[in-house]
């Protein structure tokens, strides 16, 4: 019981408290949570993309294809594991591991709440940037070690792309980090510190110095798509040009590791965007809808959201065609709805809802970016390589620089103004 009370009474992350037991538990929870989120994301991407393309998407494995990702995972795991005869076997084996490890390492410092992070590093955002750029190594090694033309071209593309978009991304991040120093005078690189300074300034950085913060967010949200090799910047794995890019020779479990890493790093960069510009775990409208009553009302939202999902499932179960072949699916969907409903009810309990709402708001904001990823993929053609470079270096980089300089000037202007006001007074 002692660890539990110790945990419940603590108001810092386990990493800061030096609590090895809870660090381990947190790491396991994050690992499992991200893996489950990848499965959900896989299903959601198929479904949303399908509906954008006036299709239904998976419908056969489980009700509305809910079990399709699991079926796919099983298929990938039991599939024959092919290593090309002339591949560099050690490197070929190593590349997906690098990519997966970097993608999951990022989640060490992602703050799902004030206490809901594995640890709080004082260089948190730098750590995120540094670790995420390691994944390009895995991609290059994977492309090179396959000893095949298409993967090689894909790897070369990704090396140039991921490196050059990191610059625009970094400048946009610096603009946000500058904003953390507005009131206190000293900025912070800690992920938790950044969110707390947004709370202290009573505005999200997306709306600070409007439109500067917002432009920085837009730049980041474009650069992060390129950074994670997703459409319309998915040149390293452009299926219509390079077959599958650096993953061409990969199959089975190794391929699924690349897949896992892709989605995990998508979530990681989305959570950077949420932390830096959208107030991390803070609930929306803290000023306009402030006060204790609204606090309670917003803390009920997670439970209600889950109850809503449960209602959707049950409605779907009722609407399911009454065919004998679909009876199992109907029961399954209803059961899934009941489980979701129970989770929703637990989330409404007073002790639970205060601790859970942070995570809920964080995930909800991050899922906006995940939806955008799918939406982009459904809508846009793919850039060509030189155009990609042009967008990165000639469009995003100058704008990011301008935003950075303007942010600095506007921030200093306020302080200069304060100094002048003091002198006059």
């Amino acid at each position: 019981m002692e660890p539990l009370t110790r945990y419940l009474s603590s108001n810092v992350t386990p990493g800061e408290a030096g609590d090895m037991l809870w660090i381990t538990i947190y790491i396991l929870i994050v690992f499992a949570g991200v893996s489950v989120a990848v499965i959900c994301m896989n299903w959601l991407e198929r479904k949303i993309l399908a509906h954008m393309q006036i299709r239904l998407g998976p419908m056969r494995v489980g009700p509305h294809g809910l079990l399709q990702p699991i079926a796919d995972a099983v298929k990938l795991l039991i599939k024959e594991d092919v290593i090309p005869a002339k591949a560099d076997k050690l490197m070929f084996w190593f590349a997906p591991l690098i990519v997966v490890m970097t993608a999951f390492t990022l989640f060490l410092v992602v703050p799902f709440g004030r206490t809901h992070a594995v640890t709080d590093m004082n260089i948190g955002i730098l750590f995120m940037l540094g670790a995420s750029s390691l994944s390009v190594l895995g991609v290059i090694i994977g492309g090179w070690s396959s000893n095949s033309h298409y993967p090689l071209l894909g790897a070369l593309r990704s090396s140039a792309q991921m490196v050059s978009y990191e610059i625009a991304m970094g400048l946009a991040i610096v603009a946000a980090v500058l904003m953390t120093s507005l009131q206190t005078g000293t900025g912070t690189l800690s992920m938790i510190g950044i969110v707390e300074s947004q709370a202290a300034q009573q505005t999200w950085f997306a709306f600070q110095f409007f439109p500067l913060g917002f432009i920085a967010l837009v730049i980041f949200s474009i650069a992060m798509v390129a950074e994670t090799n997703r459409a319309p910047f998915d040149l390293p794995e452009a299926e219509s040009e390079l077959v599958a890019g650096f993953m061409t020779e990969y199959s089975g479990i190794r391929w699924s590791l690349f897949f896992l890493a892709e989605y995990a790093s998508m979530m990681a960069v989305s959570s950077i965007a949420v932390t830096l510009w959208l107030g991390g775990w803070l609930r929306p409208f803290p000023n306009a809808l402030g006060g204790h009553a609204w606090d309670v009302a917003f803390s009920l939202v997670p439970g209600i959201a889950f109850l809503g999902l449960a209602a959707m499932c049950l409605l779907g179960a009722i609407r399911m065609p009454k065919v004998g072949a679909l009876r199992v699916q109907t029961v399954g969907l209803a059961g899934f709805g009941v489980v979701l409903g129970l989770v929703g009810l637990v989330m409404l309990l007073p002790g639970v809802r205060e601790r859970v709402q942070d995570i809920f708001w964080f995930v909800a904001k991050a899922s906006i970016f995940m939806y955008l990823y799918i939406w982009y993929r459904g809508t846009f053609p793919r850039y060509r390589f030189d155009q990609l470079m042009k967008v990165g270096w000639k469009v995003l980089l100058p704008i990011a620089l301008a935003v950075l300089i303007l942010t600095a000037l506007v921030g200093v202007r306020q302080e200069l103004y304060a100094v002048f006001a003091g002198v006059i007074r």
């Binding site: 509906h51 006036i54 299709r55 065919v323 939406w375 846009f380």
Partner: protein, 153 residues
């Protein structure tokens, strides 16, 4: 470039119009997927599917008079007919009839050539089989006509 074009470019109007199209189409009503075999398509009346030989509905006798027009009409030479002359009525009578469905391209020329409207292409389109031999249809199979496939689970 006009000012309007510049503004449209800065505010990414082109990108947003495209995204609005895909967003609009997400509603359930737009889905056009047909969940075969749960939902089955409506087959047109003139559809050229699996061939069959028509029989007189009252007497059950074949309409075929063994003239062999379909044999000459078939571009792939898939049809073989043997016939013999009835000694009493002095009329030709079809004895055996085979049609190799495996190379049939459902052009409908046999149907058009038939003077008695005996051979006809039906609306059945589910002809998958596990063996090539099963594709060679005998007179009995052709007269019986295609059996609708029933899916059980």
């Amino acid at each position: 470039m006009t000012l309007g074009a510049v503004l449209r470019k800065i505010f990414m109007v082109d990108i947003l119009t495209g995204m609005s199209v895909t967003f609009r189409h997400q509603k359930q009503a737009d889905v056009i997927t047909e969940q075969y075999p749960l939902e089955r398509p409506v087959i047109a009346e003139r559809y050229r599917g699996q061939p069959r030989l028509a029989v007189d509905p009252e007497t059950g006798e074949t309409l075929c008079n063994g003239c062999g027009m379909c044999v000459t009409a078939c571009p792939e030479k898939l049809i073989t007919v043997t016939s013999e002359r009835d000694p009493e009525t002095k009329k030709k009578k079809m004895t055996t009839y085979t049609l190799d469905l495996s190379r049939c391209m459902f052009c409908g020329l046999c149907q058009e050539a038939c003077p008695t409207d005996c051979i006809e292409l039906t609306q059945d389109y589910e002809m998958a089989l596990y063996s090539r031999e099963g594709m060679v249809l005998s007179r009995e199979q052709l007269e019986q006509g295609p059996k609708p496939t029933v899916y059980v689970r």
